[in-house]
């Protein structure tokens, strides 16, 4: 099933005139022009060299263009800038632009439940921005699990998450407590593993924030207030480029979450000898890290744990994160109680620990077979 495209695609724009070089962002791209947000302007008709790009979406395209219109900033959400009209006879460039526009304007195809979600880290100390992002995600993406958004309130928290997980895109607010977004971006770019992560910087700081974050290595800067549909449209295109998940039939990966190291060791040993690929987690932090990086086909979660109940974890994974893989509660609770909790949590089922390891392995085989 396809849904109608909503919103525009944000792109990095580098403008070179005879005197100046300006880096900013553009949107409202057509086959003949683009609007670039910038305080820089020159006379109408001034020729410029324009480079458009976006990591993993748009390989750099160099286009000859001219200033065709100038707009002064208006209300919030109406940034000032210039419209650049492309010179006629773009040839191969024109063909590439046309192909990109066809993708941008194509109906959004419903992604498959087997697809790995597009993983985004949002670094912003405003809980309201985070909530708006979460709400917008739910509105824009038809399949809840298409986008997986992680949050960090400051640079250190972000760095901790980046060190332990992999993200398709990082969105960083410039104004952060302690260490600003530009400093965090520069740190990212110096790290060999993270250096090529696409980064979008956001801020109310306007030109100063834009220059600071782009200089630090951000790929794109976007002014607040955010036009979420434009951002999500861009994320949608990024999601299409991510590595697709391996076919379910080829992979039997199980993530086990239990606060008992003994239970984890025993369960892993049993499942691995049965031919499964297994990751274990003993606490919430390692569970969330493993869930994102290991990308399991099945999740087994204990119920009675010190940090959280397993059924609460299961229902949050289902309802908030849109996790589609089977999630099974494993516990020594009374069967009736376990069944009730599993049903309420929308878990895929439950396994009583008292039934032993042979039964646990059998149920895992059964669940993964059903999921195929």
């Amino acid at each position: 099933m396809a849904i109608t495209n909503r919103g525009r695609f944000i792109v990095r724009a580098e403008i070179r005139s005879s005197k100046d070089t300006v880096i900013s962002y553009g949107f409202d791209l057509t086959s003949t022009s683009i609007f670039v947000v910038t305080e820089w302007h020159a006379a109408i008709g001034t020729p410029v060299s324009l480079r458009l790009s976006f990591p993993r979406i748009l390989e750099p395209i160099d286009i000859a263009a001219r200033i065709s219109d100038i707009r002064i900033a208006g209300e919030p959400g109406e940034p000032g800038g210039i419209r650049l009209a492309f010179d006629a006879g773009a040839g191969e460039v024109g063909a590439r632009l046309a192909a990109l526009l066809e993708r941008v304007n194509a109906p959004i195809a419903m992604s498959s439940p087997e697809d790995r979600p597009c993983r985004v880290l949002l670094v912003d100390d405003s809980w309201l921005i985070r909530d708006m992002f979460a709400y917008g995600t739910a509105q824009f993406f038809e399949r809840p699990g298409a986008l997986a958004v992680d949050h960090a309130e400051d640079a250190e928290q972000a760095w901790g998450k980046l060190a332990s997980s992999t993200y398709d895109l990082v969105i960083i607010d410039y104004f952060l407590p302690s260490e600003d977004g530009a400093s965090l971006i520069a740190r990212l770019r110096r790290d060999r593993r993270l250096a090529h992560t696409p980064i979008v910087a956001i801020s109310v700081g306007g030109r100063d924030a834009r220059e600071a974050t782009l200089s630090a290595g951000a790929d794109v800067f976007v002014d607040k207030p955010l036009v979420f549909r434009d951002l999500f449209n861009t994320l949608r295109m990024l999601a299409e480029r991510r590595e697709r998940a391996r076919p379910v039939a080829d992979r039997k990966a199980i993530l086990v979450f239990d606060d008992s190291p003994f239970a984890l060791a025993l369960t892993r040993a049993a499942l691995e000898s049965a031919g499964f690929e297994v990751a274990i987690a003993e606490d919430l932090s390692s569970f969330e890290r493993q869930r994102m990086t290991f990308d399991p086909d099945l999740i087994l979660v204990d119920v009675q744990m010190p940090e959280a109940f397993g059924d609460d974890i299961a229902s949050t994974l289902r309802g908030w994160h849109g996790v589609q893989v089977p999630i099974v509660l494993v516990s020594s609770l009374d069967q009736c109680e376990l069944e009730r909790r599993a049903e309420r949590a929308q878990a895929s089922g439950y396994i009583c620990k008292g039934e032993g390891m042979t039964e646990l392995v059998r149920r895992c085989r059964e669940l993964l077979e059903v999921a195929r």
């Binding site: 239970a263 060791a265 025993l266 040993a269 049993a270 009675q304 020594s332 620990k353 039934e355 390891m357």
Partner: protein
């Protein structure tokens, strides 16, 4: 699966002894943190025994867990006594498993 049990049974016995010892030591304290700890230890023990299919241990661990919860509510001496008795029964069951495990080892020489 037999190899798995052979490998993990000694580890279970060691862990179970530690859990029961901890519970017996803690039962004299009677405060919330103490009884909560005992509940957790016995719940974990029940789960670990269940995974190994130790059907004799599971109900004893659960019984101990319930006794600990009762003690948490009542703080009564009688309930403390009942808990200790339950822990002693559990202790004997664990030692019985340890004995069977040792006797299944091949003789020296």
């Amino acid at each position: 699966m037999d190899d798995l049990y052979a490998k993990f049974l000694p580890q279970f016995v060691k862990l179970a002894r530690a859990r029961v010892d901890s519970a017996l030591t803690t039962v004299t304290r009677r405060d919330h943190a103490a009884t909560a700890l005992i509940v957790r230890e016995l719940h974990s023990l029940a789960g670990e025994a269940g995974l190994l299919g130790l059907s004799d241990v599971i109900p004893l661990a659960r019984d101990g867990e319930q006794k600990a919860k009762q003690l948490e509510l009542s703080r009564a001496e009688a309930d403390a006594g009942a808990l200790v008795s339950a822990l002693r029964r559990l202790e004997r069951a664990i030692e019985s498993i340890a004995t069977m495990d040792r006797s299944s080892e091949p003789p020296d020489g």
